[in-house]
């Protein structure tokens, strides 16, 4: 039995998803066509619409249907503070804390030196322009505390160094309610190294 050409194409198309190999792609395609045709239709339409209407916010670079996303357009954020995060999910997490009232910039990725993901591959030029709007006074580097996130934070701080901006990095250390007995050694070692003065 040979696979029909259009089914072959669907399987091939599904493989563009991260972590999806030929086997998973085949399973997904069979499922969509055999078990859930309405679901497949919904998926096709949603994908088509999203591709047409979703772009990037001119200010924060996150996904947006408008040129400027609702949060950036709201006017009730502190425009002297700019928090740089890797992904839209990071921005959502930060928002849930209600601890930050400034603006965001979403890189949509991070530098990954060993994979050839450099400054041109993520939105760094856009960030350079964004940070120089004349209103931003402090840039908060809230990239991940992974080696790639650290590399990204370093690159951005070098990039913005000569533009008269205050640069800060989110702190790390003991988690909220953290008991020393149960915290992992890496976090604990970090907390010791970056201990702060109490008195």
């Amino acid at each position: 039995m040979s696979t029909p050409a259009s089914l072959e194409q669907l399987i091939e198309a599904l493989r563009c998803l991260p972590g999806v190999g030929p086997k998973s792609a085949t399973r997904m395609a069979y499922y969509l066509l055999q078990r859930d045709r309405p679901g497949a239709n919904l998926l096709a339409n949603a994908l088509d619409t999203a591709l047409q209407v979703v772009g990037h916010c001119q200010l924060c670079n996150t996904f947006s249907e408008q040129p400027v996303c609702p949060m950036c357009a709201s006017g009730n954020r502190d425009s002297s503070l700019l928090c740089v995060v890797e992904m839209p999910t990071d921005m959502m997490m930060m928002e849930q804390t209600h601890a930050f009232e400034g603006m965001y910039f979403v890189l949509m990725g991070r530098l990954s030196p060993l994979d050839g993901v450099g400054p041109k591959e993520i939105g760094l030029e856009k960030l350079l322009k964004r940070a120089q709007d004349g209103l931003v006074k402090e840039v908060v580097l809230a990239t991940n505390y992974t080696v790639e996130g650290e590399a990204t934070a370093h690159y951005i701080s070098e990039m913005l160094a000569k533009h008269g901006l205050k640069l800060t990095r989110i702190a790390r250390g003991m988690p909220m309610g953290g008991e020393i007995e149960h915290v992992d050694s890496g976090t604990l070692a970090q907390a010791m190294m970056e201990r702060r003065k109490v008195l």
Binding site: V20, V147, E150, A151, H154, M159, G186
Partner: protein, 247 residues
């Protein structure tokens, strides 16, 4: 070397000093981790489920940290069972961190799989420590590492004698040709090499990078030699270091 003993135990390794060089996604939730191990050289192993949010291994998969690893398997791709903290935490920041990525890329490109280089492993750890302690000295620290890397991989980098086996003279000029070594300037090998003073070669042999000319010329020499052994594919990290300098 840890090879040679034929027993079933060679398929399972515990408490091995390792560094994570790199990792990349594998299947839906796993990672392939490229390890630099002390006793087995470069080992690739699958960390199953390591991309799940609550994976115990997730936080351990950070490069530049001395770790203890356990893995098993007899094929090229092993199964990683655990990684634990070992020795102190290393804080590589800023330029030192970028240098660390560069070292990792060199090792990934130049180390053959499962070919043990214990001394190189120890050198790597010491170099990371030196970078963390004195990031402003990173250029010289890298030169030492590059030279030792090539030497320990078995590439001859003659510094004290020219190709005629005559002692290199500090105040003479030489042309350094990969695979051969220093030749006098009148020779015909000039198409692929760098010109440098004898002092640079002797300084490098003595591990003395204090002189500015030695710093510049040793940089050119190591760049030539590393490109020679790497082949045509450029290093990603070198581009990033150049981008950083252009800011």
């Amino acid at each position: 070397m840890a090879s040679g003993k034929v027993s079933t135990s060679i398929f399972k390794q515990d408490n091995q000093p390792v560094y994570v060089l790199h990792s990349y996604p594998f299947k839906e939730t796993s990672l392939v981790v490229e390890l630099f191990t002390r006793d087995f050289g470069r080992v690739a192993a699958v960390a199953k489920g390591a991309r799940r949010p609550r994976s115990a291994m997730r936080g351990m998969l950070q490069s530049f940290q001395p770790l203890l690893g356990a893995w098993s398997g007899k094929l090229e791709l092993k199964t990683l069972h655990s990684l634990e903290w070992y020795a102190g935490l290393l804080m590589l920041q800023g330029e030192a961190l970028m240098c660390g990525f560069y070292m990792n890329e060199l090792l990934l490109r130049l180390l053959a799989r499962e070919d043990a280089h214990e001394m190189l492993f120890d050198d790597y750890g010491l170099t990371l420590k030196a970078l963390a302690a004195a990031p402003s000295d990173s250029a010289n620290i890298l030169r030492r590492f590059e030279l030792r890397l090539l030497q320990q991989l078995g590439y001859a980098v003659p510094l004290t004698h020219n190709i005629k086996d005559e002692a290199v003279l500090a105040d003479a000029q030489y042309f350094y040709v990969p695979e051969m070594g220093p030749v006098s300037l009148q020779h015909d090998y000039q198409e692929n090499g760098v010109q440098l003073s004898g002092k640079t070669l002797l300084d490098m042999d003595k591990d003395d990078y204090a002189d500015v000319q030695t710093q510049q010329q040793s940089k050119q020499l190591m760049r030539l030699l590393i490109s020679h052994y790497l082949g045509d594919k450029p290093l990603h990290t070198r581009q990033l270091l150049m981008d950083l300098q252009d800011l």
